[in-house]
Amino acid sequence: MSSTRGGRRTGRKPGIARRIKLWVRGTPPRRKYTWARRALQLVLLLLFSFQFLVSGVIIKGSLASSRLFEGHVPGLSAIEMMDFFAWLEQAAATHSPSAVSIIAVAVVFILYMLLLGRFFCGWVCPMDLLFSLFERKFTRMNAPPLTRPHHYGRVEGIIPLLLMLVYLALSVILGQPFFTSISPVASTTKLAAIIQGIIYNIPGAAVGLALSWATLTGIALFVNIIAEYVFGVKRLWCRFICPIGNIYGFIANRYSPLRVKVVHPEKCVKCNVCSMACPMSIDLVYYIANGRDIKDYRCLHCGRCAEVCPYGVLSLGFRLPKPAGQKTGGVREEGYWLEHP
């Protein structure tokens, strides 16, 4: 591997310090969106994990259900939140939607379903943070088919939906919320239970608990890593298995005001840098060439594509849905993505 310094190729392997620096900087360099969302993910994870230090007044619970600012919200005991898919599974398991949780789930519904789309995955979920530590940040266009940026086919697009139905069916059969019970997303944010268990010597099982949750998170991570490095499927977990993000993706990403906007399609030179940087293997040039905003169900609204584009073609922000048929501009060039085998 050679590196570039001062515009010249040095022909030598970079030193360890420089490699760390490069790793932190990212290639292409990380900019505001990535740093902002990493900060948000980390802060949320820390708030969840050390909630007991402030008796849970800031945040309490886990990503399955949480309470914000207990006792400090005028007129309410707290801002309640409950995961939408957990609510669906619970409805399936009890054969009727629960009325008790209606406010909690409404908050989440408005936030993600109506406003932010799959923002949850890119900015809140600790698993995204964890996965990103071990995955390739930049995918070449000649990588294996499911790794390289591509537009999803019919089969690929239906698998997550089918899995969601399977989870709901299993919830009915087993009589308990299936995915929610074993979800590593909620488990990881329940880290506080383990820390508390050790510090305060709470009855039993702090170790058992730690092992159980490490197992769940570990399985998700393991599956994801094996899929990427052995089978060449990038982000298997988030693209296919996890229903929490996919349900926002399939429903909300189609119309959510927060989206990756194609603001200057005429400036795009089809360098594919955005596509190659996308953690979810989305072929952005397909959208740019079609002059559409990115409404792909896979899009995490992470803004990586926007920040790596050298020409400012894309931007992450709010835009209300355009009337059908109206395009942002730009020319479609049939088959250009087939040029990259």
Partner: protein
């Protein structure tokens, strides 16, 4: 459920949601005197030694052909309970969010722990209360308040609502958690288990004057009954088992009494309802119901002082003080009790 069972089985113990931590079927231990020559000779002289599995044990004066049995220590006879007011379809409703667990911790009680995989796939992630001695539930009902799904029902709010309607109370409310006891249906909803006192281990059934459990109980005399006799302040939990297996009692099984009992390993244990009915109907495998067993004790105390002394002073107290021990610091008021403890074993 059908599919989960084999998987849960593979994952080890505890598929039964109320499975005991105790080993095996036998929740009683016997007064074995094999290794204690002094006691063996003493009880042989009194003629109360029986053979049990090739070992020598002390007989029960009430049932002379049976060894006297004591409820095992709490650590070997504890059960997993769901938090108070768990709805009938608890496992379908609970989304394993942990809010109840965190809330219990912030209240400072730490009664709840979250189930790990060892507790079975079904229970995994749900709240469990299973350490009454160190961390009993105080019935603060905060966990039911924060539960987002109705897996824990808000019975305290319900009770307050009803009380407010009845008393037309306005403004700041003064109701506390014990108003739940006014509404039998809410008590039934809240119930985790029912407490059962072992009269052979209980200090108050063996010449003492203790009442620690009744003092600790949030419902006090609504749940406990006392009979003042020369043989101690006989204390019992008011509970009646009907023929159809339902239990009529105001005890909700919080476990505060278990924590308060000065006998090491506690003479009062909270049992799941089925287990309570089982032990109630055939107490200590004597064929007598709990009720009959207590009656028999009172009967003996009234009509057979020698047997009563033998039972209380010579056998039960020896077991209580020498083998189990009594936690002196848990007995708050009774001078007499403290005096009578003398130089006996205290832990």
């Amino acid at each position: 459920m059908a599919l989960a069972a084999p998987v849960a089985h593979m994952l080890g113990e505890g598929q039964d949601e109320n499975a005991s931590w105790g080993r095996g079927e036998d929740y009683y231990e016997y007064f074995i005197v094999d290794n204690d020559k002094e006691k063996l000779e003493y009880y042989e002289a009194l003629g109360v030694i029986l053979e049990y599995n090739g070992r020598k044990c002390v007989a029960n004066p009430l049932v002379p052909d049976k060894c006297i049995a004591y409820t095992k220590r709490y650590e070997e006879d504890r059960f997993r309970f769901k938090p108070p007011a768990a709805s009938p379809d608890f496992y379908s409703r609970c989304i394993r969010c942990g809010l109840c667990y965190f809330q219990c911790h912030y209240m400072g009680y730490n009664a709840i722990r979250l189930a790990s995989l060892r507790d079975g796939l079904k229970a995994f992630g749900t709240p469990i209360i299973d350490d009454h001695i160190r961390h009993p539930c105080t019935l603060c009902m905060e966990c039911t308040r924060v539960c987002p799904t109705g897996a824990l029902e808000r019975v305290l709010e319900e009770a307050k609502e009803r009380a407010r309607k009845k008393e037309r109370k306005q403004g700041k409310e003064t109701f506390d958690r014990t108003i739940i006891a006014n509404y039998p249906d809410l008590v039934k909803k809240t119930r985790m288990g029912v407490a059962l006192i072992d009269p052979d281990l209980c200090w108050a059934w063996n010449s003492g004057d203790c009442k620690s459990c009744a003092k600790a109980c949030p419902f006090g005399a609504e749940v406990f009954d006392f009979l003042f006799t020369p043989w101690g302040v006989h204390t019992r939990v008011k509970a009646v088992v009907r023929d159809d297996g339902t239990i009529e009692t105001k005890c909700v099984g919080c476990g505060l009494c278990v924590a308060a009992c000065p006998v090491v390993g506690s003479a009062i244990h909270v049992l799941p309802e089925e287990e309570f009915v089982r032990r109630y109907r055939n107490f200590k495998n004597t064929g007598m119901s709990y009720e009959e067993y207590l009656k028999k004790i009172l009967d003996v105390e009234d009509h057979d002082p020698f047997k009563a002394v033998l039972r209380a002073m010579e056998i039960n107290n020896v077991f209580l003080l020498d083998i189990r021990g009594i936690k002196k610091e848990k007995i708050k008021t009774e001078l007499a009790a403290e005096r009578s403890l003398g130089e006996s074993k205290t832990t």
